[in-house]
């Protein structure tokens, strides 16, 4: 059986067998679901803290990292993890309220972001494998994930989730009310850095699935939908994880049977659901009036 023989039938069990017939699809599902789990949890805090822009900046720095290590012949994921961690520390420093100015938040971060995108282009040019590499990093390459990448994804997911679980409540406190948290003895600055680094890990892994440019689809939109549905943090995190998993699995499955790319399907599902929830909320408010 080759991928050309794949076709959708009415027999669901046969369809699922087809879906997992190839090793690359097994890897895609394992990595995709792990990343969705991370993105669902970390994305919630990111949305709560209003750090969506920071996440996007990390992915741009990650782009330069991924293409940079490709020059050395390493797996892009190492470059992603390394550069996202460095970017996380930098962003942690810039988001320090003591250094914060109008420059610190918007202009400086934007300038850094575009420079690293440019740097990534340079690295791709130097590596002589222009189209293939740039496409994979910008739009994701979940169908080309190796066994080693899956292993690394498992480690990163465990570390990130353990980290978030350990700091969840103080993190929620500092995200909502940094002044009171500080007064109550919560190490606000330390938590800023720790969360920034965990966000860096998540961004690095999400780039594998949806790529630098489509990162919002996994990291921001599920969490943004969740907070529209509920104001309870635990429920919101649950919904955020569920949606990220759902988008990833449906995206991968549909992409397998149709010519649609995974990145489009995940972001399309995220966008569609977001619009539906917003319309529903809008209708609710109108009805209440």
């Amino acid at each position: 059986m080759s991928t050309d023989d794949v076709h959708l039938s009415w027999n669901v069990i046969f369809d699922i067998q087809q879906l997992f017939a190839y090793h690359f699809m097994q890897n895609a599902f394992s990595a995709g679901m792990l990343v969705a789990l991370m993105a669902g949890v970390v994305g919630y805090f990111m949305v709560l803290r209003g750090q969506s822009f920071a996440g996007h900046t990390m992915s741009s720095v990650g782009f330069a990292g991924a293409t940079g290590v490709s020059l050395l012949g390493w797996s892009p994921i190492f470059g992603l993890l390394l550069s996202c961690t460095v970017a996380a520390i930098g962003i942690g420093f810039l988001s320090d309220r003591r250094h914060q100015t109008a420059m610190g938040n918007g202009v400086a971060v934007g300038t850094i972001q575009t420079f690293f995108l440019g740097l990534g282009i340079l690295f791709i040019q130097l590596s002589h494998s222009y189209t293939e590499n740039i496409y994979a990093v910008l739009f994701g390459s979940v169908l080309g994930i190796s066994d080693r990448d899956v292993e690394l994804t498992i480690v990163t997911t465990v570390v990130t989730l353990a980290g978030v679980i350990a700091i969840a409540r103080p993190l929620l406190f500092t995200s909502i009310d940094p002044d009171v948290a500080d007064a109550r003895g919560v190490p606000v600055r330390l938590l800023d850095y720790v969360f920034s680094i965990l966000l860096g890990f998540t961004v690095a892994q999400s780039v594998q699935v949806v790529g630098v440019l489509l990162i919002f689809g996994l990291l921001v939109t599920p969490a943004a939908i969740a907070v529209q549905i509920t104001a309870s943090p635990y429920l919101a995190i649950g919904i955020s994880i569920l949606l990220a998993l759902l988008f990833t699995c449906i995206g991968l499955s549909v992409a397998y049977f149709t010519p649609c790319p995974v990145g489009f399907l995940i972001t399309g599902l995220a966008f569609g659901t977001y619009i539906l929830v917003r319309l529903f909320k809008f209708g609710q408010i109108q009805l209440l009036k």
Binding site: L48, G50, R97, I165, A166, I167, A168, R169, P170, L172, F173, I176, D177, D179, V180, A181, D182, A183, R184, G185, V186, V227, Q228, T230, A231, S232, P233, A236
Partner: protein
């Protein structure tokens, strides 16, 4: 012989402080002073506050009102003197102190239940997450029930039960302020520090929140320090006024402190206090309208 000399020394260093020491005072400033960026904000402050007292902290912008609260929170070190809370030296993260910082309001994009905001006052400093399944293994369920009840009590105390489950961002300024007070009260503090809690409220809510603070303070014997710009909505409720101006302080009942003589001395320039027929006070000729200290804006962060 030796004992006698020690007793003698203690009693001479400050008779006024000594008479209250360790007996009833919950906050004790002893010749305390603080400087910020080379400028002395206030110095030589001697002040004793008893449980259940409701004190308004007044003064011009940049006089060090918020700084006073931060000193009690242990966020800013004193440059001179001593500050004792409940008989022990001041330290950061003291659970006996509830705090409401100066702020505007939560934006409409804050999608978090009011109840969770209150709950953070109780468990926001604890590491780890209470996972419902795991919790039962080590008997954490009982603790969780106790915590839920305390959160509910704090919410009912401020009369926020009807809207506690709605997202904070959708609530009015008065409703948000009540929930924040509930958050400060949920640890059952002995001291409550409120930094301009009335600023974002309309006149009706200013009075209602003041009355609420008075009631809570008396019922639970909490010492309250409330920083305010306008003393008028507070006048029916407060016990004493602490006026900070030009590095000096004055404390006493509103009638004692908010007088032309005291304020003129504090500001070192002539100031008039006008009384309206309905008992309201107006301070005329405050230097803050004439001089402005740009380097003192750091404390309004």
């Amino acid at each position: 012989m030796i004992n006698n000399t020690i007793d003698f020394k203690v009693s001479t260093f400050s008779t006024e402080t000594y008479s209250h020491l360790g007996l009833r005072n919950i906050i004790e400033f002893d010749r305390a002073g603080i400087r910020c960026g080379g400028r002395v904000l206030w110095s030589n402050v001697n002040l004793s506050i008893q449980p259940g007292e409701f004190i308004a902290v007044l003064g011009p912008n940049g006089a060090g009102k918020s700084t006073l609260l931060k000193a009690i929170l242990g966020l800013l070190p004193l440059s001179e003197g001593k500050l004792t809370l409940l008989g022990v030296p001041v330290r950061r993260g003291n659970h006996a102190v509830g705090y409401l910082p100066q702020r505007r309001t939560f934006g409409s994009d804050v999608h978090l239940q009011g109840r969770e905001l209150v709950r953070l006052g109780l468990d926001g400093t604890k590491w780890g997450v209470p996972l419902p399944g795991l919790r039962m293994l080590w008997g954490g369920d009982k603790l969780a029930r106790v915590e839920r009840r305390r959160v509910q009590q704090a919410i009912e105390m401020v009369g926020a039960a009807t809207y506690a489950n709605r997202p904070i961002g959708t609530l009015s300024g008065g409703e948000q302020q009540r929930l924040l007070i509930a958050q400060a009260l949920v640890t059952r503090p002995r001291i409550l520090l409120l930094d301009e809690p009335l600023d974002s409220l309309d006149l009706y809510n200013q009075q209602a929140v003041s009355a609420l603070i008075r009631q809570v303070s008396q019922e639970y014997q909490i010492a309250v320090l409330l920083v305010a710009h306008d003393v008028n909505p507070l006048l029916p409720y407060i016990d004493r006024v602490l006026y900070i101006g030009r590095g000096q302080t004055a404390i006493g009942t509103p009638e004692e402190v908010i007088t032309s003589a005291t304020l003129s001395r504090l500001y070192d320039s002539p100031i008039d206090v006008l009384h309206t027929q309905d008992g309201r006070l107006f301070v005329v000729g405050q230097p803050e309208s004439v001089t402005y200290h740009p380097h003192s804006s750091h404390q309004n962060d």
